[in-house]
């Protein structure tokens, strides 16, 4: 049987030390035996390594999320005129809002995607996560959104030290005392503004689950992984698949509760007494997603099929004890290529 020719566009080509998932997604999609895939890379910056790795047949620059959904739609429509994109897979948290917003318009010009809804996207936002956990019966660390440093003592008393003081967008500090908490509050306020999120500290083992929901409440795939080497930015540099039905069940329960459509990652902290706390839900594939293909559940390829409206049989088993080990690799590139992508936005 001859392979079907399709064109898939992928963002997140920043395969750097805190990598975007694009390259891993491309490798998964390319390994699918059903398709003959042409890959269109979509980059934001001209030195994203994925542009130069030979994995993208062609790369286009796209406008930053701050330019708005209209600018993005405009640019993608232009690219689509030339490339006839069948499926698009965005991979950054910050761009998802816009991609979800324009998904129906992309569909109208023939570009399929398989993304969560804005409601699903918002429900797992760190500001709403605790309420979400309460509603659906998940363990989620208690937290409070505060605007005033004077609210700290009462919350600390309730949660008990240590507490985690988190910025609106990024950064978190573990505070052992009120003084440390106040210092963190002022520092994070100065950097990211209000509100500040105060969270209960959970001690345990960190585990990640990459999963794919079909949008009807069914789990297509779920693969748990524990990080073995962690960079100073907290990113996995090596990890191993685990055998643990309770984690697969947790992902399934999350998918069934949210009817999640698309890929996502659960960041879980399992306490000493075995309770799995959901620390964060990333609304897209993680950077280590290629491990799912290596373990026998090719989630990127399955997502492409779902996006194309094809039926996908849920995966039942995966290989336990498969490792991914990341490495750095210096490529040699001529300045003319950098100039072309920088000035023309195409390479």
């Amino acid at each position: 049987m001859s392979k079907r020719k399709i064109t898939v566009a992928v963002t997140g080509l920043n395969a750097v030390d805190s990598p975007g998932p694009g390259i891993a997604v491309i490798r998964g999609v390319k390994e699918c035996t059903d398709f003959d895939v042409r890959i269109i890379g979509l980059s934001y910056e001209s030195l994203e390594p994925g542009i130069y790795m030979g994995l993208c047949d062609k790369t286009y620059q796209i406008p930053y999320p701050t330019a708005g959904s209209e600018a993005l739609l405009h640019r993608l429509a232009f690219i689509n005129e030339k490339e006839k994109i069948d499926v698009i897979i965005p991979n950054f948290d910050a761009e998802l809002y816009n991609f979800i917003k324009i998904a129906p318009k992309l569909k109208a010009i023939g570009i399929n995607s398989f993304l969560p809804t804005h409601e699903q996207f918002d429900a797992r936002d760190k500001i709403n996560l605790y309420a979400f956990g309460q509603k659906h019966g998940f363990y989620v660390p208690r937290d409070r959104v505060i605007y005033d440093v004077h609210e700290l003592p009462a919350i600390a008393e309730q949660f008990g030290y240590p507490i985690v003081v988190k910025g609106k967008y990024y950064e978190a500090t573990v505070a052992q005392t009120l003084e440390q908490a106040q210092k963190a509050f002022h520092k994070l306020n100065a950097k990211w503004g209000l509100p500040i999120i105060v969270q209960e500290f959970i001690n345990g083992t960190e585990i990640n689950v990459a999963a794919l929901g079909d949008g009807k409440g069914n789990t297509v795939s779920a693969v748990p992984m524990r990080k073995m080497v962690i960079t100073d930015k907290g990113k996995a540099w090596a990890g191993i698949t685990l055998e643990d039905q309770s984690l697969v069940d947790l992902a399934a329960k999350f998918i069934s509760a949210t009817k999640w459509s698309g890929g996502f990652e659960l960041e879980i902290m399992r306490t000493m007494d075995g309770r799995p706390y959901i620390m964060e839900v990333n609304p897209r594939f993680p950077a280590w997603i290629y491990l799912t293909a290596g373990a026998g559940q090719n989630q990127p390829a399955a997502l492409v099929k779902l996006a194309l409206g094809e039926k996908v049989t849920p995966y039942k088993t995966y290989l336990v004890g498969k490792l991914f080990i990341r490495y750095s690799w210096d490529m040699i590139v001529d300045v003319s290529e950098f100039q072309k992508i920088s000035a023309f936005g195409e390479l």
Binding site: S46, I62, P63, A71, Y147, G345
Partner: protein
């Protein structure tokens, strides 16, 4: 041989990490016409800078807001928020569309009366109302929204003296999960202050409690907060019905809906993050409809939407005065308008587009106003084509607050033009001249002469 079109030479460093501009052409696609009238002609005829208001856009926006609420709820009344833009011609477009008047000072009140708004279709809000102001409002049968106990006692005293009924409502402030909480206006819900005020009104002989009013904030991005406000006002209304067997005639949810402007520091553009008017309508009306009013007791829903109805219709046209380069190498462009007439540039990243065609070459620049004052910055950083002295630009979505909060400082206020439904421009406010200033100044005799 004919000479080629000139463009100023420019180079741009290709940075690895900086934002690319691909696909952002929509941001600076030239805006050459407003409602069919050429920007060039408007500036030629009326000068630069000049404010231009599209009547077509006002009516379209207003009708859309009415549709959003009236298709969801049986009794809806909009009241035009005068402080947002109180040029008579603008107010009257809204009145022609069926809006009442919502005023916050006696001078706005007088404007509404002079415009021909019946007294019983004026809502009088705000913390500043003198006894004389109140008396006028009582005599005209206007709705007085009481802000504090001092005003309440003034009204009780006044109506007792003149023996006339006053139609009143109280402004209620409350926790809707929004920060900051606007608890400086009105009576607080959670502490029982609002109920206390209601009790006093119900006990007074001449005050008729007609409605309950809230105005929870400005540029609100959450529809949920309105739902909470509607629910808390309804709670008061239902309690009034229970305790006094009196049905409240209206709930006034105030204003605060955002326009599509982008707030400074916002990650995504305004147009992408603001809820639509339908989202707000759904949140408010579904809360009231599901609250458990008897059908015959269902209150009239009043909205004092200002910004969201007028911002889009306003444009500011201006011209480049000069280009220069700052000591750090950044390009600076000096415009003939600044924060003196574009007050909103303090909190918006205004969309600014050139008014003539350009090549695809662009540059980042700081855009300054003409004042000799360091804070006169229109945009801290904006990417625009290579503008030359005399080139014209259009600032978008400036209809709200600029034509009321503008200041006469260093430069005079410019003309305001309304483009009517047929594309015909009308001057609706003249520009100020030095005579405008002179007409108000008085020189004591001994200061009339000097020798230098």
């Amino acid at each position: 041989m004919e000479k080629l079109r000139y463009e100023r030479p420019a180079i741009k460093k290709l940075n690895a990490g900086l934002m690319n501009k691909f696909g952002t052409r929509t941001e600076y696609a030239p805006c050459t016409h407003i409602d069919g009238v050429a920007v060039k002609d408007l500036i030629k005829e009326y000068g630069s800078p000049v404010f231009v208001i599209s009547e077509r856009t006002i009516r379209k926006t207003s009708q859309n807001a009415n549709r959003a609420f009236k298709t969801r709820y049986p009794k809806v009344q909009f009241a035009w928020s005068y402080k947002t833009n109180y040029i008579d011609a603008v107010c009257n477009v809204f009145h022609q569309e069926g809006s009442w008047a919502e005023v916050v000072s006696i001078f706005e009140y007088q404007k509404a009366i002079d415009n021909g708004v019946p007294g019983n279709k004026i809502i009088f809000n705000g913390p500043e109302k003198s006894v004389a102001d109140l008396e006028q409002a009582v005599n005209n049968g206007s709705f007085i929204h009481i802000d504090h106990f001092d005003e309440l006692y003034d009204l009780i005293e006044l109506t007792g003296r003149i023996k006339k009924k006053a139609k009143v409502a109280i402004r209620v402030n409350m926790d809707t999960g929004i920060y900051p909480m606007w608890d400086r206006f009105g009576f607080n819900y959670e502490t029982g202050q609002a109920w206390n005020a209601i009790t006093k009104i119900m006990a007074s002989e001449y005050l008729e409690l007609e409605g309950l009013h809230s105005h929870i904030g400005t540029f609100m991005l959450s529809t949920q907060a309105y739902s909470i406000a509607a629910s808390k006002l309804s709670d008061l209304a239902v309690n009034i019905k229970y305790k006094y067997n009196k049905a409240i005639h209206y709930l006034d949810l105030g204003g605060g809906f955002p326009s599509a402007n982008t707030l400074r520091g916002s990650y995504l553009p305004g147009a992408d993050v603001i809820p639509s008017i339908d989202d707000f309508a759904e949140a408010i009306t579904s809360t009231i409809l599901n609250y458990g009013y008897k059908t015959e007791d269902l209150p009239l829903l009043i909205l004092e939407t200002g910004r969201a109805l007028i911002d889009d219709a306003g444009y500011l046209l201006g011209s480049v005065l000069a280009n220069k380069r700052l000591s750090d190498g950044r390009r600076a462009t000096i415009m003939d308008f600044g924060v003196n007439i574009l007050f909103t540039s303090f909190w918006y990243e205004h969309k600014i587009t050139p008014a003539q065609e350009f090549s695809q070459h662009t540059e980042d620049m700081v855009m300054y106003g003409p004042l000799c004052m360091n804070i006169d910055v229109v945009r801290q950083s904006v990417n625009l084509p290579l503008l030359n002295k005399g080139d014209q630009v259009v600032v978008h979505k400036v209809g709200a607050y600029n034509m009321t909060q503008w200041m006469q400082f260093i430069a005079m206020r410019p003309k305001v033009i309304l483009i009517d439904m047929d594309g015909k421009p009308h001057i609706i406010r003249e520009n100020e001249t030095v005579d405008t200033l002179r007409s108000m100044e008085r020189k004591p005799d001994y200061l009339k002469k000097f020798k230098l």
